[in-house]
Every structure is written in structure tokens, then in C-alpha cells.
Amino acid sequence: MRFKKITEQIVQAIFTVSGALTSIVILLIVVFLFKEGFGLFSSPSVEKGSALCVNAGNNIENLSVTEIKQIFDSEIENWEEVGGVDAPIRIFRFDEIFNLYSESDFGEDYELLPQKLGEVIKEDPNIIAYLPEKYVPIGMQSVKILPPENIGVADFFGGTQWMPTATPAPLLGVLPLLLGTLMVSFFAILFALPLGLGVAIYLSELASERTRKIMKPTIELLAGIPSVVYGFFGLVVLVPLIQSTFDLPVGETAFAGSLILAIMALPTIITVAEDAMRNTPRAMREASVALGATQWQTIYKVIIPYAMSGISAAVVLGIGRAIGETMAVLMVTGNAAVMPTSLFESVRTIPATIAAELGESPAGGAHYQALFMLGCILFLITLIISITAEVISKNKPNKAI
């Protein structure tokens, strides 16, 4: 008897722990995502293990990430443009040293290499040299090492360029990706909403019981199709179709992404909105009809206003589904990481960026951390959406009707 009681206690304890499981998982996700993600802002803006050096006579003290990128892309060619003297910039890359000296000049273990590099920098007052950290000539009077800067919060959230593999300083601006995600999702909902609401009204108010019995599992099946299959369908059917219909150079556009996402968001919108409409009390429908209203008038004057909170929740959940969708979008939007300007151009979304780039970014580097930061942003957006939907659907039905 006693033994049985103890067993019951133990089992109950196990159940209690499992009950807290989802909360623990969310907590772990937060910890791991944010730990990696926030490492970004203490990472150096210049590629890890490298440094930039100038001649000691140069009056430049530091360069921003964008300036470094423009200098090395030859978009800035004069020191004057970054606040220096009026002189052309000479870019010196590490490999060039091997053209100036022969292998034997560097000593057996390359121990003379820093010194030779120092001499090169000393000779040219307008030079900027991009060197591996271990060969940087330290302690030479004529060489000034530009201070390593950390990647700034403003650079990340306000940056309009996403070039994570640019050397020497990767550009990690999240705006093009964020706007791309929002644009694709916004248009997806714009396409899906009228369609979804129409079907929800039909299912809840007009369809016969038999039609409902067929339609409901059909829509569930639509929700069950894996996103990679949607992506494949979009790639082989929608993309060529869009390309020929609108006479575009490429069919992989934001429009293709929005269409696929609209189809994928439909089941969510239909199911949630239909549930809300069916919950309208019978008495309210009957009262409306008794007053002489037609069925259609009852639908848009009574049922839709009554179900408004549920319908809004459906929209919000649909947006959530669209924002987080990865594979389908990755396969049909073309993935050009530029600021989106039109629906008929290629865009890249946050989830697609993570999926496409995480495999190629070295663990612990700034790029890797930036991708985790994108994950944090995605996590926060969907969390806010999920809580918003929860709050909206808890709202009491419209009492004013």
C-alpha cells in the first residue's frame, strides 16, 4: 500500500516535469540563440585574425565598415573622402608581398615577414595594408595599426547591405532581409485573405454537411504538404509561368514567393476564421433572420462582426506562418540580398538567408553570429505574433451588435 503511494508520487512528479517541458525548451532556445547572436556585437568588424595597417604619417585614426568596404572595392580612391589628406589610396593585399621579395628573404619560418611588410608600409604614405594578424609588424614606428572595432548595433539594424563574405570587412546590414521578409509576407496575406475568408464563409454558412465533410480534410491535406514540395511546385510551375506572363528576365521573384506563401497560409486562415464564425450563437442568427434580413445580410452584419476577433487572429497567424516559412521561399524568390524595390524582382528573406548561408559560415565567426542574430529576430517576431493572436482571440465578441 505504502509502496503504491510512493509510486504514485513519483509518477506525478514525472508528469509535472514533463508539463514544464515546452517552457524549458523555449527557455533553452532563447539562451542558445541569444548567446550566439549577441556575440556578434563583440566581434571585430574586420575579419577575424586580420588587421588593417597604414603608414604612421597617415592622419586617419579609424575607418567605418562601409568605408573599408568602399576602399577595397575601389569606390573610394582618395584619402580625402574619408577625412584624410588629398592623396590616392594604395591598396596592399598580403599576397603582394611575395611578388616584391623572394621566398628566401623571409627567413626559414617567415620570421622576417613582418619586418618586410613594415618596410613596404613605411615606404608609401598612402598605403593601406590588409594583413593576417600574426604577420602584422608590431612595434615599428612607421606603421600604424588601425584599432579593431566591434560590429555596431546600428550597423547591423540600420545597414542596407548584406555582404557577409566581403573582405576585409563583411557588411552585415539586416534591412534588405527584413524588408524582403515583410514584403513577401504582406503580399502573401493580401492574396490569401480574400480567398481564405470567402472559403471560411462558404464552409461555415453555406456548404451542406456533405460538402463540409469533403472540404475540411482537403484543406487539412493542403496544410500537410511539406514546404519543400510547395517550393518544388513553385520552382517548376509558377516561376516559368510568372516569367512568361509578365515577360521578365527571371521568374524567381518576390511575387512567386508571395503566391506560394499565400497558398501555404490558406489552411491556417480558413480553419481559424471558420471556427470563429461557427461559434456565433444560433440565437443571433435567428434574431437577424426574424427581423427580415437575408442570409447574406446576416453574414456581413452579424456573423462577421461577431467573429471579428477570431478572423483577426486568423490573419495574424497566417502572417506568422508566412514570415517563418523557409524552404518554399528559398526555392522561388531568387535570393538576391538587395533592398526590395518591386514585387517583380528577386528578394531574400530572413529564413532563406539562414538556410542558405549557415552551412558555409565558419562557426564562431561574425557571419555565423549574424545568422543567429537573424534567428533571434525571427524568434521575437513570431513570438510577438503568437502572443498577439492569443490576446486578440481572447477578446470578448463585439457587444455592440
Binding site: E8, Q12, F15, T16, G19, L21, T22, S23, V25, I26, I29, F32, L33, K35, E36, G198, V199, Y202, A207, M215, T218, I219, E220, L221, L222, G224, I225, P226, S227, V228, V229, G231, F233, L235, V236, V237, I263, L266, I270, T294, W296, Q297, G324, T326, M327, M331, P351, I354, A355, L358, G359, A363, G375, L378, T382, L383, I385, S386, I387, E390
Partner: protein, 284 residues
Amino acid sequence: MNKRLSQRIAFIVFKSLSILVVGILIWILGFIVYNGISVISWEFLTTSPTEGMTSGGIFPAIVGTVYLVIGSIIFAFPLGVMSAIYTSEYASTGWIVRFMRVMTNNLASIPSIVFGLFGMALFVNTLEFGDSILAGSLTLGLLVLPLVIRTTEEALNAIPTSMRTGSLALGASKLQTIRRVVLPMAFPNILTGLILSIGRVSGETAPILFTVAAYFLPKLPDSIFDQVMALPYHLYVVATSGTDIEASRPIAYGTALVLIAIVFVMNMLATLLRNYFNKKIKSN
């Protein structure tokens, strides 16, 4: 406008929208089935890909997906069921249950790619499982946990309270009531959750990208620390990269058809079970 006329117009619009949505589904399914059915053969299902993915079968990908499904279900199903038993049988209704339900909903709304990131950070890197069946299964398990919890909760809540009080009145303990009365009655519907989870796990790509999936492996995995090929990832790589995309298109259609068939069968099974369950409850 005449109110009868406007009603007729509105209803025609709604009906045609519904037909449109069903039409879209038929279009997608029809397209995949039409192009894929000629590829499917016993050989396609039981041999390895050859000649740079342009011919041969998808056997290793099927095996990999089966392993991942088994692994994630072993992990997520018992935990999810226990979690649901706690919230619907033990927890005193109040803020704890509400909080847990909100957390479950939140977990369900997290995008699958975030699970992929998390799985990579925790299982692959921190716990040092590497890219492995273990890491992939655990990641997928976390992903379907909310689904298992929700369906189990619904199944348990559908059992009338009178069944529980009856059992308790006969002198059974709470645990005995759950084990002998509640769980057996709810079982078919809990199984629905399991089946839907299998469908979901076999189709997910994003969570396995960085935790287990391999482009091509010459041999089948020997242990849970090996990488595997998987159907959804296979479809992704065959459709988007490879030496000769046009030549590998048939393989892609065939893989897509297999994926859809799995989801279709699982959904059918779940619907049948649910109907059976509802009848059983009514007859009680």
C-alpha cells in the same frame, strides 16, 4: 441593389472561391502525381542514386527519413503525452495551465528554421553529437512536441468527467484511473497525434539542414552518430543544385510524389482513427 440579388452574387463568389482553393490543391497534387507516377517503380524505391543524382533510386533517403521519424517519435511522443497528462489531469486549473498552454502555442509558432539553428547550437555543437541521426531526431522531436501535446490534451479533455469520478468512486487511485480508464479511452485519438507527427516529421527540411542531412552517402548509416540522407532534403538538393538539373528532374518528381504519398496516407489514417474514436465515445 436588390438584396436578393446581392445575396446571390455574394454566394456565387464564395462558392467559386472554394472551388478555386480545391482547384489549387488538385492542380498541385495532379501535377506531382502526373509527373511522378511514371518514375515510381520498385527499383526506384530500393536502389541508391547513381551518376550524380541523375538516375537510380532514392532508397537511402527513404531509410534516412524512416530513421529520423522513429528517432523523433521515440523522443517526442512519450514526453508530449506525459506533458498533456499533467496539464489536463493533474494541474489545478489556473495560471499554471494557462501559462503552459501559452508556452506550447508559442513553441508551435516558432519557425522550423529556428529549430534548425537551435538544434545545431545545442545538439551538434554544445553536446557534440555532430551532424547525426541523434541530433536531427532530437531537433525534429522538439518541433512536433506541441502537436503531440495538443492532440493528446484534446483527446483527454473529450473523455467525460463522469468516467473519472466513477472510477475514483470505486476506490481506484488517480494513477489507476488514468491508466485503466482515461488512457485506454483516449488512445485512438492520441494515436491521431502520433500519426500526424509522423507526417510532419517526414516532410520537414529546415530543421535537418544543419543537424543531420547529407547530400549523398555511399552507404547506409551504422549508428545514431552517422549522417543520413532524407527525402525532403533530397528533393531540395535534386531540385535546386546538382550537375545536371534537367536530367535529375524525374528523380525530383518521384521524390515529391513519395513525400506527398506519405503525408496523404498519414492524414487518411488520422481521419479514420478520429471518426472511429468519436463513434466510440458516443456509444459510451
